[in-house]
Subunit: 135 residues, 2 copies
């Protein structure tokens, strides 16, 4: 087994282990041009240390609900700071989308809360309470 902690490069399995995403996902990222990789003489992928952060970033953007197509458009901007006004608009738009989504979720959560409260109450009283809140 090779020493990994001090190495500069790693193969796909280690990157997967260190990021928590599957090997398949990493290859998919490459296919989508989200993540580059150098190839050894045997055709195997080699990643630098920085790939770990890159993958985490990708994951975060996915978590933000961005599609891979969107991410691939915005990544150069994010990584290199090379932002055109158009890209900045896009970024701001995505940010807005995320904010709206958060608001949506918060509303849904509140709805769940009221449902839980109502249901808990009905259980305690043994009553069959009808609708509690609308919209």
């Amino acid at each position: 087994m090779a020493v990994a902690a001090l190495e500069e490069e790693m193969r796909i399995g280690e990157l997967a282990a260190r990021t928590g995403v599957s090997v398949r996902a990493l290859r998919y990222y490459e296919e989508q041009s989200l993540l580059g990789a150098e190839r050894g003489p045997g055709g195997q992928r080699h990643y630098p240390e920085g790939a770990v952060g890159r993958v985490r970033l990708i994951q975060q953007l996915y978590a933000a609900g961005l599609s891979s197509r969107t991410i691939v458009e915005l990544l150069p901007c994010v990584v290199d700071g090379q932002a055109t006004p158009a890209l900045l608009k896009r970024l701001a738009a995505e940010r807005e989308r995320v904010d709206q989504r958060i608001a949506e979720l918060a509303q849904a959560r509140d709805r769940l809360d009221s449902v839980i409260t109502a249901a808990t109450g009905s259980m305690l009283t043994g009553a069959s309470c009808r609708r509690a809140a609308d919209t």
Copy 2:
């Protein structure tokens, strides 16, 4: 054309129009047992006024990231207030999930913000700024 505003019932097209979801989606909801419908003599679906709120509720739960299978399990509880302890646990768990998702999104949004800030700065200075923040 029939007067609709004062009618008690409506057909699928009107329900779709009033809720903003597609006719196909409404039929899908019925298929998933999320939304009942009475049938006229010609086999057409007729919905009461309350269906509007019901559909909105379903939409909110979808927006909360719940699957239709989950929703169909929880809907009796939500609508009728008939909650078993098991259902309450399920509701609470879903609420937790939503909260976690919100936190995730907030983090992603902050990340986007920092990216935007950095990119804007680099544009203003004309510099090629490298990575600004990690994780």
